[in-house]
Symmetry: C2
Subunit: 481 residues, 2 copies
């Protein structure tokens, strides 16, 4: 042993000359030559852009600031979701594939590694990490200013669009401050106090008093209050179109009692869709020379993934693609516009495995959430119904026992998990034994950020989630928080 130790020491010493690379003196980096007409300019210097200096206001981005800025949050859509979207797209290409700048986002909350939508949206809104389940407050429950509030104070128009509901964690974190994301009546009151110029989503029930079927206590009717405060209040696609065509200054649109409908719900056809709300928001906010900051949430990926409903996930991916295309077209035709797109966390461990075949998926996949309304764990003809719905798929006795073991509430989840695995998608092992908290079935891996537009270069490289609003502020010409 002593002999071996000595030998290792000798070997280690002999390796020192070439292990000591770190100690070499830094080489002076030459200035690049003057660019000629055939030159492609890429950084010769391996130094990163000194973004920290910009965030502290010690350096300012060269050129005019970004004045028309859109932050898009893809709730729960991790890397596999992009691959899934592309595999099912007509030309095997998605809008984000054409974004010139990619970043990696570390989305760790203050404790643990896995975030929920409230913690993540709070980080994206306030410039500080989480904590989870809380909405734009610090560890002691004190409000933290959001970048939309800051932008509004600086004269920008500000707006929120979400295809979930306005009081849900993600939009809530940009204009309300509560210690419990479930306290949606209070979130609604905060949002009405925010004075934001445009808010389009679902969640009508939280703005109405009990007499009108709502959840707002003490008889308050927030829509009436909004109208008195100068908002054009709209509840339908046609109302929204009219408000836009009449150049409404401030618009509050609440198009459903809770979540905006999934594509399989009949009311989905009544709209407005995410792309329509986004286009309406851009048209309304862009009317003003002072510029704007708009948050758009594509928020249905997360619930689809929680329910393992891959067919509806595919439909939601198509919907978000239309919204992203409208935004990208808007940004590409302006020199002072910027869009940053980022997921908040992963959900359900979606993975694409060898047996995934886009053709087969398109042919056979159907919303398992919707299918679960027609079937039940106790249906005597469950096997026959499954065979009729999914011709060519084999359902074993173990599969049927797995479904038969479901509670009514759990049945749609088990159906989705079991069927979609047969179509080449995988998820986390079925977690029926776990306590179901807000980060239940969420995953902690780093996420892709995509940026396009003015000062897009500020969003390259690796960053913490809470740096994103700081970088947005740098692009817009101010320091935040």
């Amino acid at each position: 042993m002593n002999h071996l130790s000595r030998l290792l020491a000798v070997v280690a010493l002999s390796l020192l000359p070439f292990l000591g690379l770190a100690q070499e003196p830094a080489v002076t980096v030459p200035l690049p030559a003057t660019p000629g007409p055939g030159d492609l300019i890429t950084p010769v210097n391996p130094e990163p852009i000194p973004i920290d200096e910009a965030l502290r206001g010690r350096l300012r981005p060269l050129g005019k600031p970004a004045r028309k800025v859109i932050l898009v949050i893809l709730d729960g859509l991790a890397a596999s979701g992009l691959t899934f979207a592309r595999a099912l797209s007509p030309r095997e290409s998605i809008e984000l594939d054409r974004f010139p700048v990619v970043g990696r986002v570390i989305n760790k909350p203050p404790r643990g590694e896995v975030n929920d939508s409230a913690g993540a949206a709070s980080a994206l809104a306030t410039g500080y990490p989480g904590p989870i389940t809380r909405v734009a407050v610090d560890e002691l429950g004190r409000p933290r200013r959001t970048i939309l509030e800051e932008a509004k104070a600086r004269g920008f128009k500000v707006g929120l669009v979400s295809d979930t509901r306005l009081t849900h964690a993600t939009p809530a974190a940009f204009g309300s401050h509560v210690t419990d994301r479930e306290n949606e009546p209070e979130i609604a009151r905060h949002l009405m106090q925010s004075g934001f110029d445009l808010m389009l989503s679902g969640g009508l029930q939280y703005f109405l008093p009990a007499e009108e079927g709502g959840q707002q206590p003490q008889g308050r009717h927030l829509l009436a209050e909004a109208a008195r405060a100068g908002y054009t209040v709209v509840k339908t696609r046609a109302d929204l179109a009219q408000a836009v065509s009449r150049n409404a200054e401030r618009v509050l649109g609440l198009f459903a009692p809770s979540f905006l409908p999934y594509t399989y719900e009949p009311s989905f056809r009544q709209g407005p869709t995410l792309a329509e709300m986004t286009a309406a928001a851009l048209a309304t906010l862009d009317r003003h020379p002072q510029g704007f900051l708009l948050m758009v949430e594509a928020g249905k990926f997360d619930p689809c993934l929680h329910q393992y409903d891959a067919a509806e996930l595919a439909a939601q991916v198509r919907e978000s693609e239309l919204a992203l295309r409208a935004i990208a077209d808007f940004v590409r035709t302006r020199s002072d516009a910027l869009v940053v797109v980022v997921p908040d966390h992963g959900t359900s461990g979606l993975a694409i495995v060898e047996s995934f075949d886009p053709e087969k998926f398109r042919r056979l996949a159907t919303s398992t959430r919707l299918l679960a309304d027609r079937l039940a764990a106790t249906s005597p003809d469950l096997a026959a119904q499954l065979a009729a719905t999914f011709p060519g798929l084999t359902f074993t006795a173990a599969d049927l026992a797995f479904l038969r073991g479901a509670t009514a509430k759990d049945f749609p989840h088990r159906l989705g998990w079991m069927v979609n695995r047969k179509l080449g998608l995988e998820f986390l092992p079925y977690l029926r034994e776990f306590p179901k908290g807000n980060a239940y079935d969420h995953t902690g891996e780093d996420q892709f950020l995509h940026a396009l537009g003015a000062h897009q270069g500020l969003f390259g490289g690796v960053m913490r989630q809470w740096e994103i609003p700081r970088r947005l502020a740098a692009a817009m010409g101010f320091v935040f928080p």
Copy 2:
């Protein structure tokens, strides 16, 4: 219904003005002002760098080309692996977190969505996609030139380093051309014909004839042939150190009969480690003014993940971190060096969930692959052994039945899958019923690329896997393929 259709048409028409954003005329992008001393230069222009033009040789990167280029392949280490590495690192930061440029890589093979190491490495080596299980050949089995072969023909020194074995799919794809990745004796012959300046890995058995315990047919002794061709042939860490200190021109190092050892194997301490091989390669190749191209594979993540051996994965992450740090230090102290780091595919669906606690993991995790040597599915005291090894974890009757159901070959996998899930890691559902091909348990999601150094900007944005060697060539000043 007719009434509704008419209403929808009217609404759609009224929405047209703000849905028609794409039709707006393009705005002329102003030239940025001359930079002053306090200015941070970021792109004002949303246009991406015209990389396609560079790849075709119509534009050339401004400034001197990258002459010292390292391509690092992290076999099977997807986004969760980076998060896992960071959570367990002493300062919650990994070397890749400091890389200034991030890209997104679409790693789709020609058929399907999920790659294996052979298909991915062939794409990274040849500039064309896959196909899987084949090594640097086209669909008809004809050889495709690799970027190492091209670089060598252009006067660069070239080298291969892998902590698996030299004839394994990833290193093989850079210097051999075979239709079946399992044909490792032929791969060994091709690699010896390659004339590459430096090759350091395992896989000795494929270079020796049967008489010396090897797999090389017809009595060929490739090490003897290598020595005659001018290679310094080394088999130990001390030999390698000596070869480097004596300025050996060409080095062939084969340090184990097959894979280089895992950290839990006693022979691991004899080295050389991945970091030592990498440092030796940099010292040897950097001696020449003509520059070099080096491929380094950190290849043990994939087998650790296939075996669900999270403790050894953590050890391998530490090993690769040392190698990456040596490379990054090398690149940061030179103006003409470039490193690009990319995984080839995901493996096993590793995910970090809410219950993951780095402290607990550090305290309890042990190599389940190694533990499986001490236990067996049939051990009568299995429950007691598990309880003694993992104090505080609970093993249910179902857990024990799951282990008891394993074949001897399957037991380490089941043990790893079951134990590490209790430590807050998740994997794909246990796939015992699946046929096990080369892309078995692999996942198809897009992967993170990281770049640092000269012309790092060529690696931002979104790219197909097979574009990477094309971009490397552009950075090095030539067009490939």
